[in-house]
């Protein structure tokens, strides 16, 4: 980074790859929208200040909402000057690969299914499906082994935690059988 990005002309010339930047501006939009939501919500508050509470419930959310918008602008300025996000690295993360959208969407689908089903089917079935579906989505191809592990894991957690340690997990349609 030898160029000083202080002047507009230079920063336009030094602007890095466009697609990454568009996503970064998306973060700015998200922060702005969130700030607006916080502000609108704060405005409907009834700020009756009392001796016990001279500040009232309103100023803090107004402050937070304003800061969100200010930070969104600051980020937009920084990004336009070439500031780039440093994506997080890790043991199992290969940042040279493209984002695997399909896997992420499959995982989200499995997770949503669990939310919908957990109260009706109970933890043993819906949790088992969650593990099975996630393992498949993440690329496991041992269908029978995966099924066995899912069943074992969800039964073990149910008996160990719900019945053994008193953690609140639902039995669902298997109520009375387990």
């Amino acid at each position: 980074m030898s160029e000083s990005a202080a002047t507009a002309g230079q920063s336009a010339a030094a602007r890095p790859s466009v697609p990454r930047n568009i996503a970064e501006y998306g973060v700015c939009v998200f922060l702005t929208l969130l700030g607006v939501v916080v502000l609108v919500d704060a405005l409907q508050l009834n700020n009756n200040r009392t001796g016990v509470d001279p500040l009232g419930p309103k100023p803090v959310p107004v402050f937070v909402g304003t800061v969100l918008i200010v930070l969104a602008v600051a980020l937009a300025v920084a990004v336009s000057r070439g500031n780039q996000a440093e994506a997080e690295a890790g043991e199992d993360i290969d940042l040279n690969q493209r984002v695997d959208v399909k896997t992420v969407l499959l995982l989200l689908g499995v997770f949503v299914a669990n939310i919908v089903l957990i109260d009706f089917l109970g933890w043993v079935i819906s949790g088992g499906l969650l593990f099975y579906g996630s393992a498949l989505a993440l690329g496991s191809r041992h269908y029978i082994r995966d099924l066995a592990i899912s069943a074992a894991l969800s039964l073990a957690t149910f008996y160990g935690f719900a019945i053994g340690l008193g953690v609140g997990l639902p039995a669902g349609i298997l109520q009375g059988i387990l």
Binding site: E24, F30, V104, D119, G127, F131, A135
Partner: protein, 536 residues
């Protein structure tokens, strides 16, 4: 020495057969999960929190202490056996540790790490027992204005000191503050950001936030970039070391402990700086400097002790002030809250028995860890063979189990999903997660203390800088608050100050600083070492 008496009482509580069993389960499960690649101590504690839900607070805390030390130890095992440390705090251990393992000295590397962890943990816990009451005495003397200032300092410290971009740190912090706003206002009872949803009235449970951001966010992020490669794993026998190794290890253990503890105890001190300092110190003091770069046992013993002592150090501000200084402490605080324990300066007074039992179980957990892990190391190494699909499916599985168990409601799973997506986005856009968690935990407290300070000054802004003297009825500025505000200003202006110092400093001092910087850089500049941006 009333502290000693309290500590003995704590041991009496912690040493019942049931509680010992709980500590044992905690240590085993914590180590097993901590060894798994990609899972650091903070995620280990977050994922395993629900295991403790059915227990009464003392038992839950005892198990949690075991999970905490187990998770720490598991992480360093991974970093020695593979050259890919899961946490930034293990980076330094991995440098010489992995070189030792490659030259056939894995057993000695693991042994010096395990025993160094034990020494540092034991001394660190003693220091907790000594300092926590002192800091608490100081903390109780603090009024709302001082407490407000100290918490602001915690915000600024985790945001501006850690991580590579201050701007992104502040964005993460403000996101956390926003999440902390959700729920009924504690003073006026008005609903904020609940959108008419009754389940949001009590706010978003910190445990759900921690699990969503740490566990689910991480699993989704890894899924988006799943690595397909097998790395070399060094076969390991039972860890042991001979007299010569012990003679080379014990001083580094003690020096590492001395370096690590104070850094852990101050906000944003973290474990990276003391582990690096320990590495450099040992290299300078070693009688075998030629071994460094080829697997020097001092280079494992010192940093690993510093790492563990730093973890113990974080317990002091956590127990005495309710301030989290790293991600693991943040999750532990969330755990305390979920057991119905209010962290803060009054913790030691109100829940003294509980806190001393926790401190005693830190001793017990730490010792169990040593007894268990020396023989079990080869088994832990086997866990690295778990295929990644199972690993990350398991994280999703336990994350949703934990989030559901918080309130027994599937609504928390919806929140978990939303927070997981936020966590995914934060990793993609380089937003550090620690400021967010700290914002969620401390945000509501800062607001409450600030409003109390203003209440005492009848709404005048100077109420944030001091209070009315009870004896005279005059307003007096608080020295503590002013000093803390000055520190905050220094931290915020540090980049400017640094530039000025560079101009003013004589060239000699500057080149000395640069030498150290280069040395550190040269050690880190191993392409195999992926340092994480945060202390997961």
């Amino acid at each position: 020495m009333e502290n000693l008496q309290f500590l003995l009482d704590g041991f009496a509580t912690a040493a019942t057969p049931t509680n010992l069993l709980l500590a044992l389960i905690g240590v085993v499960v914590g180590t097993a999960v901590g060894v798994l690649p990609g899972i650091g101590p903070a995620m280990t504690v977050a994922l395993l929190l629900p295991v403790t839900y059915g227990l009464e607070p003392t038992g839950a805390l005892i198990m949690l202490a075991g999970i905490f030390y187990g998770g720490m130890y598991g992480g360093s095992t991974t970093s020695i056996l593979l050259n890919t440390p899961g946490e930034s705090s293990s980076v330094v251990t991995a440098i010489e540790g992995n070189l030792m393992a490659k030259s056939g000295r894995a057993a000695q590397a693991l042994a010096t790490a395990a025993m160094g962890s034990w020494v540092a943990g034991t001394i660190g816990t003693l220091l907790i027992a000594f300092f926590a009451p002192i800091v608490t005495r100081f903390a109780i003397s603090l009024g709302a204005p001082e407490y407000f200032a100290v918490m602001l300092l915690a915000f600024i410290a985790v945001t501006a000191v850690l991580g590579s971009s201050r701007l992104r740190g502040f964005i993460a912090l403000t996101l956390g503050l926003t999440i902390g706003l959700v729920g009924l206002d504690s003073v006026s009872g008005q609903a904020r950001l609940t959108f008419g949803i009754p389940q949001l009235g009590d706010g978003i449970d910190v445990v759900v936030v921690a699990v969503g951001i740490f566990a689910l966010g991480e699993a989704l992020w890894v899924a988006a970039h799943l690595r397909r490669k097998a790395v070399e794993v060094i076969p390991v026998g039972r860890p042991w070391m001979g007299k010569a190794d012990l003679a080379r290890s014990w001083k580094p253990w003690l020096r590492g402990t001395a370096l690590g503890f104070p850094f852990g105890a101050v906000p944003a001190g973290g474990a990276e700086i003391p582990t690096f300092l320990s590495y450099i110190t040992e290299k300078r003091l070693s009688k075998h400097p030629e071994d460094f770069g080829k697997g020097a046992i001092e280079g494992v013993a010192g940093p690993e002790a510093a790492n563990n002592a730093s973890a113990a150090g974080t317990m002091v501000p956590m127990l005495s002030l309710g301030l989290p200084t790293n991600a693991t402490a943040a999750v532990m605080l969330a755990a305390l809250t979920s057991y119905g324990i209010q962290p803060g300066p009054l913790l030691l007074q109100r829940e003294g028995g509980l806190v001393w039992a926790l401190i005693a179980s830190l001793f017990i957990g730490n010792t169990l860890l040593l007894i268990l892990n020396l023989p079990l190391a080869p088994m832990w190494a086997k866990l690295l063979q778990i295929p990644r699909p199972y690993l990350y499916a398991g994280i999703l599985f336990f994350a949703s189990m934990g989030a559901y168990a918080v309130n027994g409601s599937s609504f928390d799973l919806i929140l978990l999903l939303a927070l997981g997506l936020v966590g995914l986005g934060m990793r993609r856009f380089g937003l550090p997660v620690l400021p967010l968690i700290v914002g969620v935990i401390l945000g509501p407290l800062v607001e409450a203390q600030g409003r109390r300070a203003l209440q005492l000054s009848s709404g005048e802004l100077k109420g944030l800088f001091g209070g009315v003297d009870v004896a005279t009825g005059d307003f007096r500025f608080s020295l503590v608050a002013i000093v803390v505000y000055v520190i905050i200003a220094l931290v915020l202006l540090w980049p400017l100050i640094f530039k000025l110092l560079r101009k003013l400093l004589p060239a000699k001092a500057e080149s000395a600083i640069e030498d150290i910087a280069h040395e550190v850089e040269a050690q880190v500049h191993d392409p195999e070492l992926h340092t994480r941006k945060e202390l997961l």
